[in-house]
């Protein structure tokens, strides 16, 4: 039996609202996400809560790359998280939720579990 997970796409903001190379916080129906735009124009979204400090700050982390992974560094204690998978680079046991992102025309949409 197939159980498809239904997701709901939600419009967040326009593309120009997010400066390349930075992130912004997103209010979700439950909790918060961090939405990032890399300098080459790709969008990613992860949990906003930093699991090491329990503060909602990941949207304010620095973006960059480590090897072939694209990462965000927590602004508090500097752990890195893989933007594609949410995996923490320094601690195997920590993984953040990844929210799918798509751009519809000028609008950025984020998928949350319905």
């Amino acid at each position: 039996m197939n159980s498809a997970v239904t997701v709901e796409w939600k419009a967040i903001c326009s593309v120009d609202d997010v400066l390349p190379g930075t992130g912004v916080g997103v209010r979700l129906p439950k909790g918060q996400a961090a939405l990032f735009r890399t300098r080459d124009g790709k969008f990613y979204a992860l949990d906003n809560m930093d699991p090491f400090s329990h503060a909602n700050v990941l949207s304010r982390g620095l973006l960059g790359s480590l090897g072939d992974k694209r990462v965000v560094a927590s602004p508090l204690y500097k752990q890195h998280f893989d933007l594609e998978t949410g995996q923490c680079i320094e601690d195997d046991s920590v993984k953040l939720t990844v929210y799918p992102v798509r751009v519809q025309g000028d609008v950025i949409e984020l998928a949350t579990p319905a």
Binding site: I12, D17, G21, T22, R27, S53, A55, V57, R60, L62
Partner: protein, 843 residues
């Protein structure tokens, strides 16, 4: 075939090493292993016990890798003391009422502190120094007591005394023998050591025996020494030697030494072939080894023997030691007392400097047999190697102890044979280090991780570093100073590329000289260099994404994700009206308010979206950003100087304000702090700053490269009797030269220490303009000064920039709903995790 039962009794340092060794050799295939541990915690670093007082936690000290017991299917029973071994029935019984069968037993019960049989030794607040529980009890007792006394002036006693002293007690050491560390050092060394210890603020009573301990008048106890001599004290720590914890062995009639200890052979087998003993409980050839390194060797030997390998044998161990107290250098090597027949000593003693060194030389004059070092133990590693490897002395034996004229080491790491044991705690030879370096290790950290060298007592770390450096050099490895994987350049080279290539953005630099995307190391570094050179507004679009959060939001992020606000208060001078504005703003936004260590006011707890509106109020009232977040000038501290002070010879406040206004906003490799004092009483503490200025009758004295913080350094006198104009010119050049040549996050203190040619070279460049770049440096500084803008003013005037301060992009009016506060002493602070859980439950 069913597995055999192996019981390890005692889970201390040596016990844990035994388990690790057994696991590596596949012991789990043959044995079911159960560990019985009397303490409430699994094995921890007893050698590092004293660091518990300076902030290390029980977790930090743990020696057990996470998941070790689960992964290897080993059973660990904590709080379980073995009461008896039944050798005939082959079982042991425990204080928890269990009886466990065994095929093999390993005794690793260590030793216990000997408490001299003094009447009153069992009174309250009398302790020993062996376990984390002991330390917790000492900490509790020190809260109410004022005076602490250690009975015993040996290695451990002195460590305990340092701990009592650090706990804030007036501290005494009472030693029966006529000198301290009687086992390791000789009379001269002992005398000098006593002086050194007393300098630390600990009173030493040698040749003093305690007759009894009774109620005191001013303190809890009175220790009577006879002849009406006594000492009043609240806390007593006995550290009068250790005794092997051999009671289990005695009770089941294993062979025991005359003065205790369970007798073992070269494989650590006791008189019962199914029972091994290792570590401090084991007696080998009539000797007990009270150090961890021999215990580790026994662990390896015993584990191999159990697995049927008999090549390795225990063959005794070196008992050289180095005291690991901060501030007192003491070491003893080999035959320190010169007991070898025919040996001769060469001694160096300098009472004014507090240095004593003795080398014991063989009859033939060619070998080093032992040594004592007090006051300067820098040569410990070298001398130990000469002694252990029985190497021929490089020259005149007296050179071993004489102060070095040219500063050249006695013996390079190069001269050591591959078999030389570099780290005795973990039995790591030079060959092992070389193999690790061949395998890719490039730093001391790498070597520590893969060989454990320097991971225990740390006594070998200088030598490990020497071996590393010389081996890397031999392999032609240039020690890599690239700032990160994206730029094959040092910070200094990047600065040069930016300056000379007139590069103004990160993308341009990356395209021309780098690769990949950049990261949280290179982006802020480059942003900082761009600012040092061109001084563009840091939130200009091409730079914004490069800034670390503190620079991006122009405030320091606090532990709950909110920010602090620190307006500039140049020189610490502030009008009452401005002070009132700060108070009003703090009140309006309920900000926690504190006077900082830098003579200004810090307002904490502003949410990110509140920052622009708060700063608008402050900027309107005439405040500027204080750059508390930037790698840039922080504060110029002043004393009141001639403005009011009866001793002030110059206007220190005025000069501090002038200097602070001149260099504010200057981005640099690390933060810069300055101070100006109005006379040599030095109330502004200028000699602890990167740049310190002190007024004299004849002009200004300039000090540079001081540091407080993690590794304090006194500033060096750089130039004397300067006029106002000379002072500014010299500081301009000094700062720009630092910005041009320092590494990332290198304060001026560390920079100077690494600068080839040191202070003299720096003076030459700045004062004598030996590189002919004085004008250029001054011009570069002038550019930065002329282009200064208050970053907060520019930000609140730019609506697009203000938008970036919203916590949510989609619900811009909303604030982070995860913040929780507790009121304390009349102000608000972020809830700690445990309070937050309660707050959330209540809500």
């Amino acid at each position: 075939m069913a597995k055999q039962q192996l019981l390890l009794i005692g889970h201390g340092m040596v016990g844990q090493r035994y388990l690790e060794s057994l696991v590596v050799q596949g012991g789990r295939e043959i044995f079911d292993i159960t560990v019985l541990c009397a303490e409430p915690l699994p094995a921890y670093d007893r050698v590092g016990l004293t660091s518990y007082f300076s902030g290390k936690t029980a977790d930090d000290l743990s020696l057990v890798p996470e998941g070790f017991f689960e992964e290897h299917g080993i059973t660990l029973k904590l709080n379980t003391k073995v009461d008896a071994i039944d050798r005939a029935g082959k079982t042991v019984t425990t204080n928890t009422g269990e009886t466990l069968p065994y095929d093999k037993v390993v005794l690793a019960t260590g030793s216990y502190p000997f408490v001299p049989p003094i009447p009153g030794n069992d009174r309250d607040n009398c302790f020993v120094y062996r376990t984390i529980d002991d330390l917790d009890a000492m900490i509790a007792a020190s809260k109410t007591g004022k005076v602490g006394t250690v009975v015993g002036g040996g290695l451990l006693g002195l460590e305990a005394a340092k701990a009592l002293h650090d706990l804030g007690l007036e501290t005494h050491v009472v030693e029966f023998a006529p000198r301290l560390m009687a086992v390791q050092v000789d009379d001269f060394g002992g005398g000098l050591l006593k002086d050194k210890i007393q300098e630390l603020g600990v009173t030493v009573h040698t040749s003093t025996g305690t007759q009894d301990i009774v109620d005191g008048e001013n303190c809890t106890h009175r220790m009577n020494f006879g002849e009406d001599k006594y000492l009043e004290t609240d806390v007593i720590v006995f550290s009068a030697g250790i005794r092997p914890q051999d009671e289990l062995g005695r009770a089941c009639e294993l062979a025991i030494g005359e003065r205790g200890g369970i007798v073992v052979n070269n494989h650590c087998v006791t008189s019962d072939e199914d029972i091994y003993a290792i570590g401090e409980v084991a007696l080998w050839e009539g000797r007990i080894f009270g150090l961890v390194a021999p215990g580790y060797q026994m662990a390896e030997v015993a584990a191999e023997h159990l697995m049927g390998k008999a090549e390795q044998q225990f063959a005794g161990a070196d008992m050289s030691t180095k005291l690991k107290l901060m501030g007192v250098d003491v070491a003893s090597i080999g035959d320190a007392h010169g007991n070898t027949p025919g040996c001769r000593s060469t001694v160096f003693m300098d009472q004014t400097a507090g240095v004593y060194k003795k080398a014991v030389i063989s009859e033939c004059g060619k070998k080093l047999l032992g040594a004592v070092l007090v006051g300067d133990a820098a040569d410990y590693g070298n001398l130990l190697q000469l002694c252990l490897n029985e190497m021929d002395l490089p020259g005149d034996p007296s050179a071993l102890v004489a102060p070095m004229s040219d500063g050249a080491p006695l013996l390079g790491a190069d001269a050591l044979p591959d078999t030389a044991q570099i780290c005795s705690c973990n039995n790591v030879s030079k060959g092992d280090l070389c193999a690790a370096i061949d395998g890719g290790a490039q730093t001391v950290g790498d070597l520590k991780a893969c060989t454990k060298a320097s991971a225990t007592c740390g006594g070998c770390s200088a030598l490990v570093k020497q071996v590393l450096d010389s081996e890397l050099e031999k392999r032609g490895v240039e020690v890599n100073n690239h700032i990160c994987e994206h730029f094959p350049y040092s910070r200094q080279e990047i600065y040069h590329l930016v300056r000379v290539g007139q590069i103004t953005t990160f993308d341009e630099l990356l395209e021309k000289h780098g690769s990949g995307d950049g990261c949280d190391i290179c982006m802020p570094t480059v942003a900082n260099v761009l600012a040092s050179c061109w001084n563009d507004w840091v939130l200009n679009k091409p730079h914004a994404g490069l800034q670390d959060t503190n620079d991006y939001f122009l405030g320091n992020m606090q532990r709950d994700g909110t920010y602090s606000i620190v307006p500039r208060v140049a020189g610490g001078e502030i009008t009452p009206d401005k002070l009132i504005v700060l108070g009003e703003v703090a009140k309006q936004y309920d900000l926690y308010t504190k006077i900082t260590g830098g003579q200004r006011v810090d307002l904490f707890g502003a949410r990110v979206e509140q920052l622009p509106e708060i700063w608008k109020i402050l900027v309107d009232a005439g405040f500027e950003t204080g750059h508390a977040y930037g790698k840039s000038l922080r504060t110029v501290k002043s004393c009141v100087g001639s403005t009011w002070c009866r001793y002030g010879v110059k206007d220190s406040v005025g000069t501090a304000i002038q200097v602070e206004d001149r260099y504010k906003g200057l981005r640099s490799p690390h933060k810069i702090k300055m101070a100006v004092s109005g006379c040599t009483r030095e109330c502004a503490e200028a000699q602890s700053k990167d740049v310190g200025v002190i007024a004299t009758e004849k002009g200004w004295n300039l000090y540079v490269c001081g540091n407080g913080g993690m590794r304090p350094r006194h500033a060096d006198l750089f130039a004397s009797d300067l006029t106002d104009e000379q002072l500014i010119k010299t500081i301009d050049r000094f700062l720009m030269f630092y910005i041009k040549t320092a590494d990332r996050l290198q304060r001026t203190s560390v920079w100077l220490e690494n600068l080839e040619g040191g202070l003299d070279y720096l003076k030459d460049v700045i004062l004598n303009d030996s590189l002919g770049m004085g004008d250029e440096l001054e011009a570069q500084m002038q550019h930065v000064i002329e282009t200064y803008q208050c970053e907060w003013k520019s930000t609140i005037e730019d609506p697009e920039a203000v938008k970036r301060f919203n916590h949510f992009i989609n619900e811009t009016a909303e604030a982070d709903d995860n913040l929780a506060y507790v009121r304390e002493r009349g102000q608000r602070r972020p809830a700690y995790e445990h309070e937050r859980i309660e707050l959330v439950e209540e809500a």
